[in-house]
């Protein structure tokens, strides 16, 4: 069933694109059907999965690589799946109104549903390599969604940054997965988690493996110091930001950490890496968020901060931390997603997201104001919201640590959490007060030109209401929804007893302290913002751009040195390098017995054909006109062709013949374009240089031929081909059978390269007609840290 659901979503993508949904006003509801089906099915599985049963599906892929499409639905996958599909439903409806008959809606839906497929595949995958494939799927769709507006250079740069950072992390993670697979002897996640405790953590390669895997998780979840890509990703259309960059994709790193938690969390390296990185991210994100004026930028940094909190929680092994993480993930999805969607509606209605130009939106857009208020007080963690519950659990975790004797870590965590919590409160209040409730903005106010229809606000309101309702139905859902993922993270059966109100406990008092502090920061926000703005601006974006520019400079330098100047120097470098290796091998006697039979007499052809080739080559070198040089070159080709014929290789001969004819004509066509002035006379020393290079290349070719004729270094595979060609591959022509069957994968790669080369060549050959290129415009700097 899992694979069918993935297929449903994957097929919805092109179907929606082809339908051109912008023709209908309410197309979003149609688009929401597929994710709604997935959500419904997942909800129906909730009962069985919470009892501890898991649904597994296996599809073979490549056994030699240990790669299989294993899907498994357990508590954690179901929990994440519900967030992805449920949010996806709301976003699909929302996007229909957001794009409002813009013809790019279909393209957006196509990307969105492909992303949804990858994301669901990621959380359902039970094989590390399959998980990686889906992981990359989310990176690529995210890249395409960020660069959705192709004319906006901010968007393109943000997209590139996001792709490079998450892509590099993913590559490191793949390395980590391979190490993990080697250590565990399996790529199957469920089997890997079932290994006896300590198998992995005691392994000699544990720390390198963990570092690589954590790099993947941290880059994806925008942890310090990789957090800078997330604010840059805000150039994406708001539905994509709300969905990918707050509710789902950035949680992929968290999912991975939670998934591997039972196998890896025993180690102190795991604890310190997650605790420190998560803590720093939490504080940095919260501090920077207060400095921003763009609604989406505030929310982006708030997301970074919240992700830091969740990573920090996953550092611990105790059950309370896992509970706090699970509740935090859902609470965050249910307030941050809607807040992003609110920002999108505000942008849609007023044409700006700059908070300094906004004021009093709640009076004029009461429905939107209600949704924003509900979501923002949840973000601030004010009783009795879902966010409050999440914060209580977070604080409870640290109090439990202090009681358990780990008082230093506990107090440190508690202090950091209170500061971050206060900042959460402060920027939640900033958003609410400045955009929705105050009467006068700082700058020239923006007008509401385009009031949103109630249906546009509906998905936002629905999500916030679900979030607001959850704390009041805790007893009904705590053991169906939350217990199973907690059990998956801690690898022990869990039973939960959550409650909104515990009485006047120290936890509640600390929570109140954070709110009071937040209120104070909010009251003093003017001076605080000034203070932050004057501080040192450590910008990851600048560093990243510096590194990328450096790479470009290096590439430019190497291209100029190795491939610059004339064509002869360009080809002599690789040829000499190849010749050098062979000459070295011969001089060091690395090539053992060469079987040369000095007494064998050459046949007639073997004398005549090389002689013909030599004469033709001399003619090329001495030719006075290009045409005669080209024709002589053709003659060399004919000699090679005849050699194939005499040594009975008809396929090669045929190919050689056709290639020869085509190149001959191509060369004539190309040289026909070049102005026909006579060959310049080469200076003597340059001729000598080319002669020496040619001689070296000749020695190289001759040496290779000698080695090839000698004792084979490896057992030959041609016997296998000869044996199996007719029987197994149904073909008498071995060359063709190799091309399309034995080595079919190679051929597929080659024709793909051909298509790329064809498109590239097409563009290059037409480049002269595409000019003039419009001069580059000056674009605004992206907002960054």
């Amino acid at each position: 069933m899992l694979i069918q659901l993935l297929a449903l979503l994957a097929l919805t993508a092109p179907a929606l694109w082809l339908l051109r949904p912008h023709r209908w006003r309410h197309a979003g509801w149609l688009a929401a059907l597929a994710p709604a089906v997935v959500t419904g099915w997942l909800l129906s599985q909730l009962g069985a999965v919470s009892q501890g049963s898991a649904l597994s599906e296996h599809y073979a892929w490549s056994q030699a690589l240990g790669l299989a499409l294993d899907l498994r639905l357990d508590g954690l996958s179901l929990f994440f799946g519900l967030i992805i599909a449920g949010m996806g439903t709301a976003i699909a409806v929302y996007a229909g109104y957001y794009f409002e008959r813009s013809s790019s809606l279909g393209y957006f839906y196509g990307l969105l549903f492909l992303f949804m497929t990858s994301m669901l595949g990621l959380v359902w995958a039970d094989n590390l390599l399959a998980l990686f494939v889906f992981w990359e799927g989310t990176s690529i769709t995210s890249y395409l969604l960020i660069s959705f507006k192709l004319t906006d250079s901010n968007a393109l740069e943000g997209a590139r940054r996001a792709l490079v950072v998450t892509g590099l992390g993913a590559l490191a993670m793949l390395g980590g997965f391979v190490l993990l697979g080697q250590m565990a002897g399996t790529y199957s996640i469920s089997r890997l988690l079932a290994l006896p405790a300590g198998t992995l953590t005691q392994h000699a390669l544990f720390v390198p493996m963990l570092t690589l895997v954590l790099l993947g998780a941290f880059t994806k979840s925008a942890q310090f110091p990789f957090h800078f890509w997330l604010p840059g990703a805000m150039a994406a259309p708001t539905p994509a930001s709300a969905y990918l960059h707050s509710a789902t994709m950035v949680k992929a790193g968290l999912y991975l950490l939670a998934r591997l938690h039972p196998a890896l969390a025993e180690s102190p390296v795991w604890f310190w890496a997650l605790f420190v990185v998560g803590g720093i991210t939490m504080l940095t994100g919260a501090l920077i968020a207060l400095r921003q004026h763009d609604l989406k930028a505030i929310l982006a940094y708030a997301t970074v901060s919240q992700l830091g909190v969740l990573v920090m929680l996953l550092a611990f092994e105790i059950k309370l931390a896992a509970v706090a993480a699970v509740v935090g993930i859902l609470a965050h999805a249910l307030y941050k997603g809607p807040l992003f969607m609110v920002a999108g509606i505000v942008d849609h209605a007023t044409g700006t997201r700059d908070i300094r130009k906004l004021a009093g939106l709640a009076r004029r857009l009461p429905l939107l104001g209600a949704a924003a208020t509900l979501a923002a007080i949840s973000m601030a963690g004010i009783i009795p919201t879902f966010g409050f519950l999440a914060k209580e659990l977070l604080l409870e975790n640290f109090f439990a640590l202090i009681e358990a004797g780990q008082s230093q870590i506990g107090w440190l965590g508690l202090a950091a959490t209170v500061i971050a919590g206060a900042l959460f409160v402060a920027y939640s209040l900033v958003i609410l007060w400045e955009a929705f409730f105050r009467r006068k903005p700082e700058l020239k106010p923006a007008k509401i030109e385009h009031a949103p229809s109630p249906l546009f606000v509906l998905p936002v309101l629905a999500l916030t209401l679900v979030g607001a309702a959850i704390p009041f139905f805790l007893t009904a859902i705590e053991n169906t929804l939350f217990a199973a993922p907690v059990a998956a993270i801690t690898a022990a059966p869990a039973e939960l007893h959550l409650a909104l109100w515990h009485g006047w406990t120290p936890i509640f008092l600390t929570s109140l302290l954070a709110i009071a502090l937040g209120g104070a920061i909010f009251a003093l926000r003017g001076p605080v913002r000034k203070l932050f703005a004057s501080g040192i601006q450590l910008s990851g974006t600048r560093i990243f751009d510096g590194v990328v520019d450096g790479l470009y400079a290096l590439a430019g330098w190497s291209t100029r040195t190795l491939q610059g100047s004339s064509f002869p120097t360009q080809i002599s470098i690789p040829l000499l390098a190849a010749a050098g290796v062979v000459l070295y091998a011969f001089s060091m006697n690395l090539v053992a017995d060469l079987r040369v039979d000095w007494n064998a007499l050459p046949t007639f052809y073997e004398v005549v054909l090389p002689l013909m080739a030599v004469v033709a080559t001399l003619v090329i070198a001495r030719a006075q006109s290009r045409l005669s040089a080209i024709i002589s070159l053709g003659l060399v080709g004919v000699v090679v062709l005849l050699i194939y014929v005499f040594f009975s290789a008809p396929d090669l001969a045929l190919t050689q013949f056709l290639v020869e004819v085509l190149t001959l004509v191509l060369l004539v066509l190309v040289f026909y374009r070049i102005p026909n002035h006579a060959y310049p006379k080469q200076p003597k020393h340059r001729s000598m240089k080319y002669l020496l290079i040619s001689a070296a290349v000749a020695v190289w070719g001759f040496g290779m031929a000698l080695v090839a004729a000698g004792e084979p270094l490896f057992p030959l595979i041609s016997d296998f081909f000869l044996l199996n060609s007719v029987g197994a591959a149904h073909g008498g022509n071995i060359v063709n059978v190799i091309l399309v069957d034995f080595r079919g994968f190679d051929t597929l790669g080659e024709i793909s390269v051909m298509v790329v080369a064809a498109l590239g060549g097409y563009a290059l050959l037409r480049a002269s007609r595409m000019r003039p290129i419009e001069p580059e415009e000056d674009f605004e700097e992206p907002y960054d840290a």
Binding site: V740, I751, L765
Partner: protein, 142 residues
């Protein structure tokens, strides 16, 4: 640069070359030939047309089909490879059917369709380069 002798000759040679390509393509699994060679033969046939009737004539005739042909060829090749997964769970596993027409038995399988994909890509690739390079310099500069 339409040449009178060439344009007479190509009326005979182009169909012959195209037929030859089909034979190479279909017989290639057992006799010399195959998609790659057949693709080159087709490109040679179009080259003949370019030389005889000029590149604009050929461009009008087939120019719009070249890039789609490459894409379609790549897709055919990919799907031929994927049928192996569908039927045996192994990428690129060949599937063969036998069609008996009296004494004549035709074997047809997923490697054959794969070869057709290769043929489409190669023929369109080479032809498109030939067309672009044979565009006279003065017209290309415009």
């Amino acid at each position: 640069m339409p040449e009178i002798y060439l344009s007479l000759l190509d009326r005979i040679l182009t169909p012959v070359l195209l037929m030859l390509a089909v034979i190479f393509l279909l017989a290639g699994h057992n006799a010399p030939g195959g998609g790659f060679i057949a693709g080159l033969v087709v490109a040679t046939a179009f080259l003949m047309q370019i030389l005889a009737r000029g590149d604009q004539f050929v461009r009008r005739l087939i120019g719009t089909y070249l890039q789609p042909a490459m894409g379609v060829g790549l897709l055919i090749a990919l799907f031929s490879a994927l049928t192996g997964i569908g039927n045996y769970g192994v990428f690129f596993q060949g599937i063969w059917w036998k069609i008996s027409l009296g004494d004549f038995v035709l074997e047809f399988g997923s490697p054959t369709t794969f070869d057709i994909g290769v043929f489409l890509v190669v023929s369109a690739f080479v032809t498109s380069y030939l067309l672009e390079l044979s565009r006279p310099a003065e017209r290309a500069a415009k």
